[in-house]
Amino acid sequence: MYDFSYHRPKSVADAVGLLKSKPEARAMSGGMTLIPTLKQRLARPSDVVDLGGVKELAGIKVEGNNVVIGGMTRHADVASSAEVKASIPALAYLAGHIGDPQVRNRGTMGGSVANNDPAADYPGAVVALNATVTTNTGKHAADSFFKGLFETALADGELITSISFPKAEKAAYMKFPNPASRYAMVGVFVAKTASGVRVAVTGAGACVFRVKAMEDALAKNFTSAAIKDIKIPADGLNSDIHGSAEYRAHLVGVMARRAVDAANK
């Protein structure tokens, strides 16, 4: 790891000020991706701005029909939260299946969503539940937030302060984890909310995406039988030592059907 200057601001305003004053600075939330990246010298920030001291960023609250989760809330806290379990159990399940217990004790929702790893779990929940990502400068709708491989709508110096998830009538997340890393080879989040049925796929492509054909079929008939004949084209899906694009395309169908069955339980 190359050395860097370390900062531990106490407020969002101070953190943003630091990020804006140092063009090569990087924000760090849980560090579960950033520290391994620094160790491999895949990044060389001049400054690391640790958000661990910004208390206003962590916490979970229910506001009307939404569960609002602070950007610095750890996966373990989402997984064990009584509010999340009661309102959106699928989201608690998802958080409880990221990485391993030690990673869940450090990793944060905001960090995961901002990083937008193609195999990350949270983007599936954000898109399927039609969540709203709130930052220090404004709000982003889920559909316009994730732009591509490790790319989001966040501008330089823009930090995720919280994410607001509408409660779901029915929802479930099913993933096929890589047996070694626990990253999603394919993960499918299916949700039926006030804004309709959404099916969001993570792990399979460069970035989370929706499957319109499944959404339309499930809107008419929310059963796994309704989507059993829908084939996902392998074109453009990820292909690597862990699985071919065709394999992942097949897994999307399997995970989607399992998710619908789980949501109906």
Partner: protein
């Protein structure tokens, strides 16, 4: 960048000067000379480096020493009540022959204690196996490790630790 860092390790106040990039495990091993915490993979997969920071198990190879500023850190060296009285989890590992080469053991024990507490001293075999996913034993001695953790849960409860 050199930074002064201070924290509590196994109940004792410690401090030192570190680089921003110094990992917590390096601070423990190289600055404090506490080599009970092991470095296995150095890529946050194997769990040999697990310690508790403010009561929660973390991989000390993937947290900076400066991030633990002001925290209470517990390592394998801080578990036994006295030199002749092991922690119930350590005792259960000994009783159940839950170690072969012993390299993964410090991390296994630290993860196991956090696991028992998180599940309020109530564990079944499937839960133990699932919750051990962040710790690798390359002797593949999992069977006895699982037995030891299941035995330690009630022992920890009755010992009040």
């Amino acid at each position: 960048m050199t930074i002064s860092v201070a924290m509590t390790v196994n109940g004792k106040a410690v401090s030192g000067k570190v680089e921003a990039r110094t990992l917590l495990v390096q601070f423990l091993r190289e600055h404090l000379g506490m080599t009970g915490t092991h470095v296995g993979c150095d890529t946050s997969q194997c769990g040999a480096c697990v310690v508790h920071v403010d009561g929660k198990s973390v991989k000390s190879c993937t947290i900076l020493a400066v991030q633990a500023e002001g925290s209470k850190v517990t390592t394998i060296e801080g578990l036994a009540a006295s030199p002749d009285k092991l922690h119930p989890m350590q005792e259960a590992f000994r009783e159940n022959h839950a170690l072969q080469c012993g390299f993964c053991t410090p991390g296994m024990v630290m993860s196991a204690i956090d696991m028992v507490k998180r599940h309020n001293y109530q564990l079944d075999e499937a839960t133990v196996r699932r919750e051990l996913e962040g710790n690798l034993c390359r002797c593949t001695g999992y069977h006895n490790i699982v037995k030891a953790i299941l035995a330690a849960a009630p022992a920890m409860k009755s010992a009040g630790v």
